[in-house]
Every structure is written in C-alpha cells, then in structure tokens.
C-alpha cells in the first residue's frame, strides 16, 4: 500500500496553511512534528478527504482519494485533534454507534468493541456515560473508535494529548504492534513519543515539510550542533537571549546550558550527543540577530 501526496496546498485567503507538500508514505509509523500553526492538522484533514485542497492531490495505490469515496473511508481510521462525543452515550454504546457508521455488521462490531475496550483499558467503565469520563479516558475512546474498522491507513492528530505517562507507553506499544503492513501517521508535540515509535519523521514548518527521514537520519543532521556550556546564573540569562538554548539545568551554583549552534558558541563549550528534540528545536529556532 502506498499513499502519495502530490504538491498538496491549502490556502485560507492569503494565509498558506499547507504549502506544496509532496511525500510518499508506505507501511510504517510516521511522526509529524511541528509547532502550533505549522499546518499539521490541515495536512491531516486533507489526507482524510474532509478538507478540500486548494491544489494538489492525494493518491492511495494510484487512485485519487476523493474519487474513491466510501472505499477510501473504509480503509481509513482517524482521530481528530479535538473531537466531541454524545454525552449520554456509554463508552460501549458510543463505539457501537461508530461501528454502525463504519458499516461493520452488528455481530462483528460487538466482538471488536469488546476487544478494543480491553486494549484501551476501558472494559471496567464500558457501561458508564462518557460525560463522566476524564480527558484521558475520552481520548482512549477516540483511539478505539479510530481502530474499529481495522484501518489500513490510520491518521491520529495528537493522540497522546491528555494521556498519563503509563497510558502513553501503552498507546505507543499498541501502535507499534498495530502498524505492521499499515500506514500510521501521527502528530504530537511530545518528541519522545515519536522517537519511540516512528519509523520516519516529517518535520513541518510554516506549511512545508522541512525534513523527512528516519529518527537516526534526522539526529545525524543535528550532530555537531549541540553544545553544553556551564555558566553562572547571570550569564545564563544573557545566553538565553543571544543563542538557541534547548535546555537549562542547575548544578549547584552553576547552570548547564544545552545550546544549539552551528559553531562553537564559547570557549568552554563541549559537544554532546544530539537527539530528535535537538533537531526539532534547531529547525524551529529563529536565528538570533
């Protein structure tokens, strides 16, 4: 299976939300990283065919997705960034309703809903109304509904938002197990989630995909650009203004800064190992004047 995106563009009046994005996604887990307003959600909504593009097309195995209609939605699972729910529906009832909309026969739906409730650890509360659920529990119901039709293409917009660390680990394991011969595209601000499960990362900025590659390929790009520098607290403030500081930690009276820079920022600075977060911050930084 192959999802190819060909010069996908979306304009909102004069604002360009997605700018001529082209990529090819084959089975695997793809992480979409980018700051707020980078165009991640718009891009994902166009991939789901719920938002018309200004120009460009998306093809699934050579077929243009908007012309596929129900055949495309049949292989698609989607979790929107912000989603609602019918407050009086119980978790099980809600999933059965979504299964009905996905055209899953009742007997199959019953079995699958039960399985998914166990997977997302909501079996105990399946009979409770969703209005009584916490944010994390609602998010887990959202994840379960996206998996109902056993989608070949799974698009998850901020799936780990609202999940506690234990649930995030459970979710990461679930997606890793699930991916197999499927395409999973997920966006998140939590770089460690992407680092843990994504086979490839797409870094978006101002509507464009800046970089696409595996985590190791991307971290290599940041290699040699991450420096550690120990300074006094007063100097730390100055450094924060004049350089891209990725991290700051206090060690006794001193402050250890993690600086992203193409050149050695100061005499005492030492190289340190780069991570995906470093590359993310390095790509997103506004260069100090």
């Amino acid at each position: 299976m192959e999802l190819s995106v060909d010069r996908l563009t979306k304009h909102y009046g004069r604002k360009i939300a997605v700018d001529c994005v082209s990529t090819v996604l084959t089975p695997g887990v793809y992480g979409l990283l980018g700051e707020n307003g980078a165009g991640k959600t718009t891009f994902m909504r166009m991939l789901c065919a719920i938002l018309e593009s200004t120009s460009g097309e998306v093809f699934l195995d050579g077929r243009e997705i908007t012309s596929m209609g129900a055949d495309y939605r049949d292989v698609l699972g989607y979790l929107p960034q912000e989603f609602g729910y019918y407050p009086n529906y119980k978790a099980e009832e809600f999933l059965r309703y979504m299964a009905a909309l996905k055209g899953i026969p009742r007997d199959v739906a019953k079995k699958r809903v039960k399985e998914l409730l166990e997977i997302v650890d909501l079996s105990d509360v399946k009979g409770k109304r969703m209005k009584t659920f916490s944010g994390g529990m609602k998010q887990r119901v959202g994840i379960a509904q996206a998996l109902l039709n056993d989608p070949k293409l799974l698009i998850l917009d901020e799936p780990t938002a609202g999940l506690d660390p234990k649930e995030r680990v459970r979710f990461r394991n679930l997606i890793s197990d699930y991916a197999g011969d499927r395409i999973v595209l997920l966006s998140t601000h939590i770089v460690s989630d992407i680092e843990a499960i994504a086979d490839e990362v797409l870094l978006m900025k101002k509507g464009k995909v800046l970089i696409q590659g595996t985590v190791s390929e991307l971290t290599k790009k940041a290699a040699g650009k991450v420096w550690e520098l120990t300074v006094s607290p007063s100097e730390a403030k100055i450094w924060q203004e004049k350089a891209a500081v990725a991290n700051l930690r206090h060690e006794g009276e001193q402050v250890v800064l993690r600086i992203l820079s193409d050149v050695k920022p100061a005499e005492g600075a030492a190289h340190c190992e780069a991570g995906l977060e470093d590359l993310y911050l390095y790509s997103m930084r506004e260069y100090p004047k």
Binding site: G69, A100, L101, V108
Partner: protein, 255 residues
C-alpha cells in the same frame, strides 16, 4: 516468488506434455498458496448495506427523533383543541415539525462529532438521508394527525384541500431552508434558521387574523403554486443528497 517467476512456471506448464503439465499445475497451486499465505487473509471484510444502516440509525437516533416529534404533536393537538379558527392556524403549527427535526439532523455538529462521522464509511449525505427518512416518516404521521384533527374540528369536508395546502407549504418551506443551509455548509446560519422557522410560525399565526384574504378560496391558486414550487425545491435537495451519497462525497457541515 515474484510475478515473473510465476509467469514462467505457468508458461512452462502449457509447453509440456499432459503428465508434466499436471505436475506443474500442482507446483503452481503450491506457489499460489505460498503467495496467498504471505499476504495473509486478503478477503475484504463484510460491510452493511443501506437498510441495515438505516436500522442502526433508528436504533441510535430513533428515540430522540420520535420523542421530539411526539412532543410537538402533543402541543399542537392541545392548541388545536383550544383555538376556534383551526383552518387558518394550521400553517402556524406545521413548521414546528421541521423545527423538531433540527436537533436530530444537527446533533453531530452540536456535539462536534461531524469530523469523526465524516470519515466513516457512511458519508455525511448517507447519515442525513437516513435521519431524514426516519424524521420524514414520523413527520408524515404527525402532519396527517394534525390535518385530520383540523378537518374534524371544521366539522365538514369543505376546504379539505386548502387545509392540506396550509399544512404542507410552510413545512416544505422550512425543511427546504434547513436542508439548503446544511448543504451550503453555513454553520453560522443554523441558529438563524431555527429562529427563522419559529418566525415562520409567528408570521403565519399573525396572518390568520391580520391577513384573512390569504385564506380566501380565491387565494388557493397561490398556495398551489407555492406548494408545487417548494415541493420541487425540497425534491431537489433530496436528489442532491442522494447524488452525494452515491458519489460518497462530502456533504453538510464538517468540523
């Protein structure tokens, strides 16, 4: 084994004698089995048809639809039992049935479920169509009861056609307005639509006393023209929904 190798096997099978061909055939079958097992179960999962879907929508939406319509019918029946000039007030009541359909049709937008529902196999058009079928069936019963009661209160068969027109025209005007707004994705105008529908009721209610000429027998022609026009507009909206459903394309307010 790739497709080229498989093709070579098949070609060789045809070139050779009867016995060898049988041997090759078995070999080919084994190869195909291996390929199939590698790709797992390729059968497509069964999906429900429209009638099963309609039954599911009835299961989940039926109670809300029926209870709202029943509530409206109850209120109208009480009013019709009280007022004197029943015939002229019928147009003020039937838009209420259209108003009662709105929560069912727009529930997904109200609860921000539109986006999630839009990416399901059932397109927005299919969901709206199923809800319209359910609501339409109940509306038909409700309007029939109202018109029957109005005729009963008239105590004569005179003006039966007029009462039917007075009941159906405002209903069709309101339903067409609602469907048109949904089709044009004018989310911000839906509250306006609810207010307008209520406004229609008031205007027709006021017209019963302030504009008696509208209800004279000589005005039946105008009512008939309005009926034909709005039945046409309503039919067009339904046809567009069916077309969108067939194409599986987006319909309605999403997100």
């Amino acid at each position: 084994m790739n497709s080229r190798e498989l093709e070579r096997y098949l070609r060789d099978s045809f070139r050779q004698g009867e016995e060898i061909r049988a041997e090759k055939k078995a070999e080919t079958v084994a190869c195909c089995r291996e390929v199939m097992s590698r790709y797992g179960d390729c059968r497509e999962e069964e999906r429900t048809g429209f009638w099963q879907f309609l039954s599911d929508v009835f299961r989940f939406e039926g109670f809300l639809t029926f209870s709202l319509q029943a509530g409206v019918l109850f209120l109208i029946c009480i009013q019709l039992g009280i007022i004197e000039d029943v015939m002229h007030y019928v147009p003020a009541f039937t838009p209420l049935f259209a108003l009662a359909v709105m929560p069912t049709l727009l529930r997904s937008q109200f609860y921000k479920m539109g986006e999630m529902e839009a990416v399901t196999r059932a397109s927005g058009a299919e969901i709206i169509l199923a809800k319209l079928i359910l609501a339409g069936a109940v509306n038909l019963i409700g309007i029939t009861v109202v018109l029957g009661l109005a005729m009963y209160r008239q105590q004569s068969g005179e003006g039966t056609g007029q009462i039917i027109l007075y009941g159906l025209v405002p209903y069709l005007v309101c339903m067409t307005t609602i469907l048109r707004l949904i089709r044009l994705r004018r989310k911000e105008r839906l509250p306006v639509c609810a207010v307008a529908t209520t406004g229609y009721c008031l205007v027709w209610g006021i017209s019963a006393t302030k504009m008696p000429q509208v209800y004279e027998t000589s005005a039946v022609g105008v009512w008939m023209i309005l009926f034909i026009a709005f039945a046409g507009f309503f039919g067009r909206e339904i046809r567009l929904i069916i077309e969108k459903k067939r194409e599986g394309k987006l319909y309605g307010i999403i997100g």
